[in-house]
């Protein structure tokens, strides 16, 4: 099963719409609740990052019998130093993002904790791609 959603950068009223839609699908598919909660939390933080830091993004969700694979790719400033971005507490978020309850530099580490596999690729000046994989069969990881 493959689903594609778009994210508009800067639009905080819609941040979370994709994670919400995916949550409903995972519920319908009867995916283990703990794992599906991890998936939607990681996706939500990723979505917020596109809204907060990039110009526009696309989310692809690919569900098969053993895993949920999500890619979040955006057009944006990209990340120069990925290791530094991953550090808890590192943030370049604007005051506006902080007012929304984000921008404490915890997003990427939250995403890491809530995924079984995470990889970030980024080209500064072009954009960022985050890949998240979560295994949905307990014995498949």
């Amino acid at each position: 099963m493959q689903i594609r959603h778009k994210i508009a950068g800067g639009d905080f009223t819609r941040a979370g719409n994709v994670a919400s839609a995916v949550k409903k699908i995972l519920q319908q598919l009867n995916i283990d609740h703990k794992q599906s909660k991890r998936i939607v939390i990681a996706l939500y933080e990723g979505e917020v990052n596109v809204v907060a830091h990039a110009y526009s993004g696309v989310v692809d969700v690919d569900i098969d019998s053993e895993k949920v694979r999500i890619t979040i790719s955006d057009k944006g400033p990209g990340i120069k130093d990925i290791e530094q971005a991953m550090e808890e507490g590192f943030s370049t978020a604007t005051p506006q993002v902080r007012e929304m309850g984000f921008g404490a530099g915890m997003g990427l580490s939250n995403m890491k904790r809530n995924s079984d596999f995470m990889e970030i690729r980024s080209v500064p000046g072009e954009g960022t791609l985050v890949e998240l994989i979560n295994y949905i069969r307990p014995d498949a990881s």
């Binding site: 009223t13 941040a15 979370g16 994670a19 933080e45 929304m100 309850g101 915890m106």
Partner: protein, 118 residues
Amino acid sequence: MSSQMTIRDIAGLVDGRVICCEDRLSTSVEYAFASDLMSDVLTVDKENILLITGLTNLQVIRTSEMSDINCVIVARDKKVNDDMVRLAEENNIILVESPHSVFHVSGELYKAGLKPIY
């Protein structure tokens, strides 16, 4: 399992005004967490939680939806907006406005037996 409290009792303790999902007031919760930082809320690894916050925007409701939080108490007389109410109703999240501060609300509910997460 002893320290569960209904949202109805909780709302009473904080002089709360229930804004939506009144039909769910007999839901009970065991844990509470107070924060204005949604990334922090998203680290909470428990079900059946109540959130106490001073923040009023749509992301509070989205965060609650993702975190399986079934009641949000908005402290210090902040008013929730219509978009928040609509999204909360859609997700069966009870919204309560309280005139008291986050500290006051937290103190009352801690005293009454709601458990902290950490």
